[in-house]
């Protein structure tokens, strides 16, 4: 029982972190129907941005409550910078290009970013230790322990998702985003600039990924250039599972993915060596049998 509860908690923490990435996938897909394959890399560069700040800029003895917000800012700034450059330079020129072009481009961007960091960031050819900039130790509830960093992730991720949901539902820009997602041409007739909305979507997604990257770093205490690809796939699966285009769905899907990975690693044949595989199996099954996900609507119903 204790093991089960522990694995559930671990899975939920992973889910919370994946959820922050999944939000970016789901928003971009909702607006321009692009699987932004490189979104995982946006998360990855955010982690390295925060690492850079903590390792090379901040003084050694800085307190966590100063360092953590600063690192979040650095990660968010780097992630947003990369995402904006990516949107402007790689995706926007492709409007009207042939069908496979955006996806192949996204793949190219993903590889380019991974390799640039691996080759040029000092020490990035091997995993790097991420600075532990949060309360050490853990919270114990009966036999179940949860690192304080995990508690932080579990608190922050749903909070940010809720804030995003409210923003999209209530604000002027959010309304423009929903309008563009539903009917891009008519949205243009309302005076909405699709370029601006798309860019805003990339920026918001990247910002969330940046925060996610710092939370990921302090929780797992180690980063490398592959974290973007891996977690990006998890996040994409989560977004599809929850119903791509839906904010609540992305968080829900992410928690499911986290649970599947952590429980499969414990209980299913093959153990942790195959936990990754079960996520992919789930992904294939979902895409085949319920591509609209939990909360999405069948594709044919889109206006």
């Amino acid at each position: 029982m204790a093991v089960l509860a522990q694995q559930i908690v671990n899975g939920l923490v992973l889910g919370a972190l994946i959820g922050l990435i999944a939000l970016g996938y789901t928003m971009v897909y909702g607006i321009i129907q692009l699987i932004n394959f490189a979104h995982g890399e946006v998360f990855m560069v955010g982690a390295f941005g925060a690492h850079f700040l903590a390792r090379y800029v901040l003084p050694e003895d800085v307190r966590w409550y100063v360092a953590l917000p600063a690192m979040c800012l650095a990660a968010v700034a780097v992630s947003i910078g990369v995402a904006v450059a990516m949107e402007r330079l790689a995706y926007r020129p492709l409007i009207g290009a042939h069908r496979l072009a955006p996806l192949i481009t996204a793949l190219g961007v993903s590889i380019l970013l991974q390799e640039v960091v691996r080759v040029f960031y000092p020490g990035a050819t091997a995993p790097l230790a991420f600075p532990r900039m949060f309360v050490e130790g853990h919270l114990a509830i009966g036999p179940v322990t949860i690192l304080w960093t995990g508690v932080l992730a579990l608190a922050v991720a749903p909070l940010l998702a809720a804030a995003l949901h409210i923003y999209v539902e209530r604000s002027r820009l959010g309304r423009a985003m929903r309008a563009t997602a539903q009917d891009p041409d008519t949205a243009r007739l309302m005076g909405i600039s699709p370029n601006r909305v798309t860019l805003a979507t990339f920026v918001i997604g990247a910002g969330l990924a940046g925060v996610g990257a710092v939370l990921y770093g302090i929780h797992y205490t180690q980063i490398d250039t592959a974290i973007g690809f891996q977690n990006g796939i998890f996040a994409f699966t989560a977004a599809v599972l929850g119903g791509i285009g839906s904010i609540r769905g992305a968080m829900l899907g992410a928690f499911c993915i986290g649970l599947v990975k952590s429980l499969a690693g414990q209980y299913v044949w093959g153990g942790v060596q195959y936990d990754y595989v079960w996520v992919f199996v789930l992904l294939i099954l979902v895409l085949m049998f319920r591509p609209q996900g939990f909360l999405g609507r069948p594709e044919g119903m889109r206006a």
């Binding site: 290009a97 192949i104 793949l107 991974q114 080759v119 895409l287 591509p291």
Partner: protein, 484 residues
């Protein structure tokens, strides 16, 4: 114009005079040989002076050579004046627009056409051999090999552009098309003649046959992506399945049986992977194939069922052996590896024939319809499900066969050869060469697998450059480099 033509030539003289010891001579120890950059520059200068339409291509070539030259000189901390002068000359040549109209090339009679094709393909093989060997094989004997190779590439690029400017390439393509069978036979013979050229050493044969394996695989991928428009991001898994199947059977059965088994296993799994295509389309399909690829990779990494050797890989696979002769040994005057090279040439040839025939077949038209618009295709009565599965089946069988050869040729197979970056490289080869074109996949695979071999200095940047290439090609030449 005359000044422009003279400048490249001048630059070959200048550094020799002003900086006698280091500037250029030491770099390109064979300045006036075929691979020497000086000869290239002089050649291009003469070309530009004599043929007005070739001026721009010559300029491009000169500029490339000059940039390579400058880059390597600066890297050595010995900047010379020759480079900038040559660059200026090249730019000057590129400046003016076309002057003379392209000459009309009449289709000649069959006999002449065959002769022309024979000469053209012989020249192509010679060029390939020179390109392969340009700069030598080892950095120990020639530290500037990379630069020499790139300079040679500049020359080849310029010649290709010049021929294209005079409409010769299009003319040749038309001839090839008219005398398809003859052209194909000549090409096959010429390709098989490569071991008799300068590239006929064990080392280059090994490189060439590796390229052949990947070229055949890329053609298979080209069928799936280029013809049917189904983006497969886990394609290298089929190469792996073919390789692991053959590796496990290598000690039990002769090569042809192992190859067949590898092909069949890959084909069956191709159908399994293709099955979701009935329900999933577009971007989602790409993700499904990626997921299958990752599942295969993880399974192979963990030595699933003891079939893949896991981290230890499968060592000691015997070489192909037929008629009592092991394929890794020299045969008569032919260097070791020539036989593997011949096998891969035949394999690529078969794949090319298959691609051409499929493209013009009923199935090929069905694929084209699906690629354009699946719903419309279905409405027109195309059995889309069958056609899509067939694309996966053919593509995966091709890769499976290539995988079997791959396993025997290397003698060892490990899961690392089949990771995601290999799928990306293959995709890059297809995209680079032009999706759906026949020579495209071969040209792309050659480029992507020769360049890292020639430019070890850049091996760290290999994937980075592939990523960049994917972005740039989609942006500027979405139909690939070949289809111009």
């Amino acid at each position: 114009m005359l000044v422009g033509a003279l400048l490249p030539w001048a630059s070959t003289v200048l550094p020799g005079g002003a900086y006698p010891d280091r500037a250029t001579l030491q770099f390109f120890d064979a300045p006036h040989l075929v691979s020497g950059f000086r000869l290239h520059l002089v050649l291009l200068g003469v070309l530009a002076a004599l043929l007005s339409r070739a001026r721009k291509p010559a300029g491009i070539g000169v500029a490339v050579i000059a940039l390579v030259h400058m880059g390597f000189l600066i890297g050595l901390g010995a900047p010379s004046i020759g480079g900038p002068v040559a660059l200026a000359g090249g730019l000057l040549l590129m400046w003016p627009g076309l002057t003379a109209p392209a000459p009309e090339l009449k289709p000649p009679g069959p006999a002449v056409a065959r002769l022309v094709l024979l000469v053209a393909f012989a020249a192509l093989v010679w060029l390939v051999s020179e390109t392969l060997t340009a700069g030598g094989q080892s950095r120990a004997t020639n530290p500037y090999g990379g630069a020499e190779f790139l300079a040679f590439c500049g020359l080849v690029l310029a010649l290709a552009c010049a021929l294209s400017a005079y409409g010769v390439l299009a003319w040749l393509a038309a001839l090839t098309d008219r005398h398809r069978f003859f052209a194909f036979s000549v090409m096959l013979v010429c390709a098989l003649a490569l071991p008799f050229t300068d590239a006929g050493t064990g080392y280059w044969m090994t490189v060439a046959s590796t390229i052949g394996v990947y070229a055949a695989t890329a053609i298979g991928l080209n069928i799936v992506v280029g013809l049917a428009g189904l983006l497969d991001l886990g394609y290298v898994a089929f190469l792996g399945i073919g390789a692991f199947t053959a590796a496990n059977l290598a000690h039990v059965v002769p090569f042809p049986v192992a190859a067949l088994a590898g092909t069949a296993t890959a084909g069956i799994l191709g159908i399994v992977v293709g099955a979701p295509t009935l329900r999933v389309r577009g971007d989602y399909l790409a993700i499904v194939t990626l997921a299958f690829g990752e599942i295969f990779f993880r399974a192979a990494q963990n030595n699933i069922g003891g079939l893949t050797g896991g981290a230890n890989s499968i060592p000691g696979i015997p070489p192909i052996s037929m008629f009592g002769h092991a394929f890794d040994k020299p045969l008569g005057v032919l260097p070791a590896g020539s036989l593997y090279y011949a096998v891969t040439v035949v394999m690529v040839a078969v794949a090319m024939v298959m691609l051409v025939n499929l493209r013009h077949s009923r199935t090929g038209r069905a694929w084209a319809a699906i690629r354009e618009d699946e719903d419309v295709a279905r409405a027109m009565g195309v059995r889309t499900g069958r056609a899509k599965i067939l694309a996966f089946l053919v593509g995966s069988m091709m890769a499976g066969l290539a995988g079997a050869v791959f396993a025997h040729k290397l003698g060892t197979v490990g899961y690392e050869s089949f990771d995601f970056s290999e799928s990306v490289t293959l995709l890059a080869a297809v995209v680079l060469g032009g999706m759906g074109t026949v020579p495209g996949a071969v040209v792309g695979a050659s480029l992507l697998f020769v360049l890292p071999e020639k430019l070890r200095e850049f091996s760290d940047y290999r994937l980075m450059l592939f990523g960049l290439a994917l972005i740039l090609i989609m942006r500027f030449r979405p139909r690939g480099l070949v289809s111009s």
